[in-house]
Amino acid sequence: MEHDCSLASGSSGCISERQNSIITTGKNKSRIHCADDSLAGAVSQRACVFCGARVVLNPITDAIHLVHGPIGCATYTWDIRGSLSSDSEMYRHSFSTDLKEKDVVFGGEPKLAACLDEVISKYHPPAVFVYSTCVVGMIGDDIIAVCKDASERHGIDVIPVESSGFLSGNKIVGYRAAAEAIMKLIRPKPGEVIEKTRKLNFLGEYNLGGEKWLIERYLNEIGIEVNVAFTGDSTVAALKQAPGSCLNIVQCTGSMHWVANNLEKEYGIPYMDVNFFGAENTADSLRRIAAFYGDPEIIRKAEVLIERELARITPIIAGYRKKLTGKRAAIYVGGAFKAVALIRQMKDLGMEVVVTGTQTGKQEEYETISGLLSEGTIVVDDANPAEIEKFLLDMKVDVMAGGVKERVLAYKLGIGFVDHNHDRKECLAGFDGAVTFAREVYITTCSPVWKHLKESIGGV
């Protein structure tokens, strides 16, 4: 059915140049274009390099995160993640060099140096990350040199993050900038020896709603210790021990594959992709981790845990599935990793996924996504609100999973919404998270409030 798009009567609400960024599974064999830059004039949902770098590094709890630029970049990214800390709350402060016109004209290096001296002598952090922003890249401040000097002056790691926003509109570039900063931080100093252990590192885990703690509890129960997560609830000291781990498990691939590859190259640590979203994925991931360790006791304990947890949650999820079967879901998230996990979970709940999109998906990831979906599903890269609206209405969606900007859009259309963004507050990982997710989807899809909406349209 064709829905009349309120955004642009007479047009489909979609920009013709964007046709290659939207495919319908099963209908056309063309490959999706996903590496294109957003069009000038698009109401894109994408962000910038700085944003990508900031969300990856910000959860490092005891570091100071100093944004070198005008005030805005620091304000908008002040505590925007739902990452929880078990100790230091330093990362919840917002530090900015607050560049003024004269700094832009004469260069911001002296101010950056002064800020570094001030915050380091005030707070004595174990490390400082210095993020460059658009203007800083434009005027050519040498943040590498300023950081190096400050590092020598104070005897701590002061690490530049090359994240000038204009470098790309694709957050992935920012993930890389963050990844390079992490590698700099954990590289042992000359003469330092990092002892090898049987612990693992958990890459691409940000401890949203305490998810890292939950997975760590599972791993501890089966006899495996976590050294550190990149970067949820991490500390500078724990990150520096990362080279001593025997395995890296990688969850958010967009931000961490490059790191995993480099850790393998530099320190010989193998890695495996894991996924703790949804009960099946969780069980599968635990089994593969146990298999890697190869210890029969670990394997046995993993099976015990999986059996116990599945027995506990299966009836609860079945209860939700009864209520949700046949409902239609849309997914629009940042990365393909999350999209794939969500498709599985929605299907587990008896729902049909009819629209899927991401901001930063790669070609092969889109192929994976298309493979999971039934014929006629819409797959879209870097959608704009006009497109999202059109798909939600055309495909008669009941509930959408997305981020902060999609939430209000879905609500306005009278469609339920479940938050799967990096600022969510709920733990959605593991067996417990599968129940939480089911409950969240149920609450929003079957809320009594929608009845009133229908009444007011019909009656009032």
Binding site: S6, L7, A8, S11, I15, D37, S38, L39, A40, G41, A42, V43, S44, Q45, R46, A47, C48, C51, G69, P70, I71, G72, C73, A74, T75, Y76, W78, H93, F95, S96, D98, L99, K100, E101, V104, K111, A114, D117, E118, V119, K122, C134, V135, G137, M138, I139, G165, F166, S168, G169, P385, A386, E389, V404, K405, R407, L409, K412, L413, G414
Partner: protein
């Protein structure tokens, strides 16, 4: 937080301001069928939309020039021309309001020239404001965009007699406040044009139909016609004076600068100015509302009189708020804004001095680190300000009354006015309840009583 005496001179720690473009975006949303356009990197636009969405809990749409490295080297002219063409073709707004960012300002894009060279369909308009993030604050950006509305659009039509009508520039306030100011003006029987006006844009009802351009907003035609009004009221010096002055200069409309009508006195001033300039009759309803405020102040004064309060936020909100807490008999011990301007320190200082209070600190262009340090030296009974104060509230165990922008952790705020007499009642309720809740929480069992 670090302990002891701390000198903090460089940069900001926990800012109490943000950058110009978001203010310009908010102002532009107050024009009917306007698409705000951010001339810069994509991230800025995404951040501003997200931040506004978190505060208002409504969709915020804006387009971006999507700068990449190429634009940064060769200038953003091509991006902006393409963007203007695309936006009119696809999103069909009546008007595009372009604001710059620190990046496009640093590159030095010449906006007026680029706009002149752009393809603008018949009957459509493009306006712009220069809003470099390295000057001023979000309030400056709001002010610059409202001024741009005047310089681009307002016109004096010499043929027509001046209309017995007031232009109201409401300042950077919530839609609910704009609604309340309009209600008061209407009840006096005075014809008005409010610009910008975000009512029915960012407080729109749920209809299950999504309109990219909701019903609200001042139309381009109305903004043009402001040049023919008899008078302009500029509410809030930082947000509105520049546009008021521009309208006076361009179209000869006299301008009366007033405070944003928060509190008894500022609301009285608004009403009395309208009464005087338009020979309006104050309706009984308003007189009744005012009487209720005074009655409530008397009924509750012993709950908060003499309590020390720290107030932080945007200057046009903070100034009248300080005036009102003084009316309530409270002691504004620390007052801080992130927006630059010595006038803030002078105005607030004068009001506090006049109330006979000697022990206080007022600071413009401060940050919440400053405020926290002062509080650690000597605490207060209450914090009033935006969500960002919640860290101090928790660490120092001080109740927080959320007022201003942004409020990211509570709902309903943008729908409830703090302006007008109704706003007075709401502020009294929030302030006295916060203090009474605290008293109930902290008191001994034998002091825990039914009637307070």
């Amino acid at each position: 937080m670090p302990e002891g005496e701390v000198v903090h001179t460089a940069g900001k720690i926990n800012p109490v301001k943000t950058c110009q473009p978001i203010g310009a975006m908010y102002a532009a949303l107050g024009i009917h069928r306007c698409l705000p356009h951010s001339h810069g990197s994509q991230g800025c636009c995404a951040y501003h939309r997200m931040h506004l969405t978190r505060h208002f809990r409504d969709p915020v749409l804006a387009s971006t020039s999507s700068f990449t490295e190429g634009a940064s080297v060769f200038g953003g002219a091509a991006n902006l021309k393409t963007a203007i063409k695309n936006v009119f073709e696809i999103y069909k707004p009546d008007i595009i309001a372009v604001h710059t960012t620190c990046l496009s300002e640093t590159i030095g894009d010449d906006l007026p020239t680029i706009i002149k060279q752009s393809e603008v369909p018949e009957g459509k308009v493009v306006i712009h404001a220069n809003t470099p993030s390295y000057q001023g604050s979000h309030i400056t950006g709001f002010s610059n965009m409202v001024k741009a509305m005047v310089t681009y659009l307002a016109a004096r039509d010499e043929e027509t007699i001046r209309k017995k009508r007031v232009n109201i520039i409401p300042g950077f306030v919530n839609p609910s406040d704009m609604r309340e100011i309009k209600r008061i003006t209407s009840s006096l029987g005075v014809d008005m044009i409010m610009f910008p006006d975000t009512t029915n844009v960012l407080d729109s009802p749920l209809t299950a139909k999504y309109d990219m351009y909701p019903e609200g907003g001042t139309t381009v035609e109305e903004i043009r016609d402001t040049g023919n009004s008899r008078l302009t009221l500029a509410l809030g010096a930082w947000s509105s004076n520049a546009a008021g002055a521009a309208l006076m200069e361009k179209c000869g409309v006299p301008c009366v600068p007033l405070k944003v009508p928060i509190g008894l006195k500022a609301t009285d001033d608004l009403i009395m100015t309208l009464k005087e300039k338009f020979d309006a009759v104050v309706p009984d309803d308003l007189t009744l509302e005012r009487g209720q405020v005074v009655d409530t102040l008397i009924d509750t004064h012993f709950h908060y009189q003499g309590k020390k309060v720290a107030i932080y936020g945007d200057p046009d909100i903070v100034v009248p708020l300080v005036e009102f807490v003084l009316t309530m008999g409270m002691i504004p011990k620390y007052v801080i804004t992130g927006t630059p301007g010595k006038a803030f320190e002078e105005q607030v200082g004068a009001m506090i001095e006049e109330a006979g209070i000697e022990d206080y600190i007022v600071k413009a262009e401060g940050d919440l680190f400053d405020l926290h340090q002062w509080i650690k030296e000597e605490s207060v009974d209450l914090l009033i300000g935006n969500t960002y104060g919640k860290y101090i509230a928790r660490t120092e165990d001080i109740p927080l009354v959320r007022v201003g922008f942004p409020i990211l952790d509570r709902a309903v705020h943008p729908l409830m006015p703090i302006t007008g007499y109704k706003g007075c009642l709401r502020l009294i309720e929030m302030i006295s309840n916060a203090l009474l809740e605290r008293r109930d929480r902290d008191c001994l069992d034998e002091d825990y009583e039914l009637v307070l």
